[in-house]
Amino acid sequence: MTGKPPQITMVQALNQAIDEAMAEDDGVFCLGEDVAAKQGGGVFKVTSGLTEKYGTHRIRATPISETAIVGAAVGAALAGQRPIAEIMLMNFVGVCMDQIVNHAAKLRFMSGGQTNVPLVIRTTTGVGVGFGGQHSDMLEAWFAHVAGIRVVTPSNAADAKGLMRSAIDSNDPVIFIENILCYGLKSDDPGPGYRVPLGEAAIAREGSDVSLITYGRTVLDALAIADEMASVGISVEVVDLRTIAPYDEETVLASVRKTGRAITLHEAVRPYGTGAEMAATIHEKLWGKLKAPVLRIGGTFSPVPFVAALEQAWIPTKPEIVAAIRSSMENG
């Protein structure tokens, strides 16, 4: 073989991770709306081709019953299986929060460790496809605020594969957030068995002047802007959290200790976002070493609009991010 290694899309990466896990462990199974072959293998085709291999008990197409889906995943997980429940779009978690927050998250603790809930809830979302107010939100902060849940989101196909394997391996409940706009992104195929440990951020690009801390789709914006800033002599370090909660505080603090400047960036609305939590921690732990106050960038505090003209203004824009970097650089 010559040339480049084969490439896979994020959809293929997720599919491979689930396929490999199902092949290795009979206890891994998928459930969700339209996930089986008869329904087309999932709205975004992530479970395509798996029913043929594993049958309809392990790729269970469900009624439109999010509470019953997540509840069943909780129960099966308590019994030692490793369910992967799909909630078609992230906003629909609103109808099954009790199962996630009061049960999945807490049963290990409330049982004094006698039981645990090794489930993965896959869900997708994303601003920029015109889905409007009830199909676009990033709601990761809701879950980050609850003890007992891990929250994960990949920004590239290789991480998607590695994070999914680790999420399935995890003995704790994991909310796995996919982004509709990222499904087609390609990476070099990391090969079978690839894993990205939960709780480990990646330095997506090294830099020395300012740390841009982000995750998911906005990593792509951050990397593009870092390229541009390099040409004007500003060296931006991009930290991709990959696991949003509990996050890799050590890597974040190490980056900011080095650069002395930090900006948090997420697609979710800014108030009460994960960026606020990180900014507070950075201020608490690195006060005196900071050259500038930590800045936060997030989506506009309004429902996600429908029309592209508004949607593109709603998300953190490139000028906004560049302005934040410049403002941070003006200090120290």
Binding site: D26, G27, F29, H57, R58, R60, T62, P63, S65, T67, A68, V70, G71, A72, A73, V74, G75, A76, A77, L78, A79, G80, Q81, P83, V95, D98, Q99, N102, H103, L107, R108, F109, M110, S111, G112, G113, Q114, T115, N116, A147, G148, R150, S170, N171, D172, P246
Partner: protein, 334 residues
């Protein structure tokens, strides 16, 4: 299938003596535990939330007798009956209720979250109706791995009006899960009488709407109650799908300990007293040639066991604050 074909008739078929003795013993364990709890609360020796099960002892005991040790149970804050009758060791149960480190959950669950997988008590939820979807998952695991277990989930009449009930009933029937839904219709949800929260005359009627079998029984009649549970459990174990049992009963001590009764009409209170399951069960036992002495002896043994358990639980330590960092995630919190 037509709705009437999905309804099983209550059965008064004779129960063998060994099983009857078992049901009686479990019923009295539940009852004596309840009596003891109320006594301790009255004396001020403990001050915790406790949801009395007086009046519902037989429903739980007969239902649990129809299960094996390995079968799964999901119950509610009013779950003392299921927990005790399924066989949680008294000492561990009491210690948990008193918040002690020797409890089933090291004092981190408490009365509303008793868990004991060793005897199949997988979840006790304090959220009305949330147990049903989870119970489906336990049953789904059994269906997936063919372990032959049956799951039984207990809940109240009030729980039949929350969304999760309907989602879970449909899903269980759709997949023909090995599960039994046990609705303990004690005719009240908190202070609201059944007729004030539900327009249809019975919860069991709803099963047909989901293509599920059902049975409506007098939960204070040992034959009806046990035979219904047995039928449903055997059906689930045979792979023939779920059943909804609606067991009519009375909540004789109010919503929780110390609750007020003023909202219950006098006729209801009188009816409740007349239908007390304990004298009825005792009469059945005597009728089947169990002697007074034999029955008293069973109760005396139970009381002795409870007294020991309570004494040990009272003497045990509270958990160390370090426990707050443990069992949040798999790894200890920093």
């Amino acid at each position: 299938m037509a709705a009437d074909q999905l309804r099983d008739a209550p059965s008064r078929a004779e129960i063998d003596r060994a099983t009857l003795r078992d049901i009686y013993t479990r019923t009295m364990k539940v009852n004596r535990t309840d009596e003891k709890f109320r006594a301790l609360l009255m004396e001020g020796k403990v001050a915790v939330m406790y949801y009395c099960v007086r009046g519902q002892e037989l429903v739980s005991a007969a239902a649990m007798t129809a299960l094996t040790d390995d079968d799964y149970v999901v119950c509610t804050y009013r779950g003392q009956g299921e927990q005790t009758a399924k066989g949680i060791p008294a000492e561990k149960w009491w210690a948990e209720c008193l918040g002690k480190v020797t409890g089933t959950c090291k004092g981190k669950g408490g009365t509303m979250h008793i868990t004991y997988p060793e005897k199949g008590i997988m979840v006790t939820t304090g959220v009305v109706g949330s147990g049903l979807p989870i119970a489906n998952g336990l049953a789904m695991a059994s269906q997936n791995n063919g372990d032959g277990r049956v799951t039984m989930v207990s809940f109240g009449d009030g729980a039949a009006n929350i969304g999760g009930f309907h989602e879970a009933m449909n899903m269980a029937a759709l997949y023909q899960l090995p599960i039994v839904f046990l609705c303990q219709n004690n005719r009240y949800g908190e202070h609201t009488a059944f007729a004030d929260h539900t327009a249809s005359p019975s919860i069991a009627d709803r099963a047909a709407g989901y293509g599920m079998r059902s049975i409506h029984v007098d939960g204070n009649d040992v034959h009806q109650m046990y035979n219904a549970a047995k039928l449903a459990v055997d059906r689930a174990r045979a792979g023939e799908g779920p059943t909804l049992i609606e067991a009519m009963c009375y909540r004789m001590m109010g919503h929780f300990f110390g609750a007020d009764f003023s909202y219950m009409p006098p006729e209801h209170l009188a009816e409740m007293k007349a239908e007390d399951p304990l004298p009825k069960l005792r009469a059945v036992m005597l009728d089947r040639q169990f002697t007074e002495a034999e029955l008293d002896d069973i109760v005396a043994q139970i009381d002795a066991e409870i007294d020991t358990a309570v004494a040990r639980a009272l003497a045990a330590d509270f958990p160390d604050p370090h426990e707050l960092k443990v069992d949040v995630f798999e790894e200890e919190m920093p």
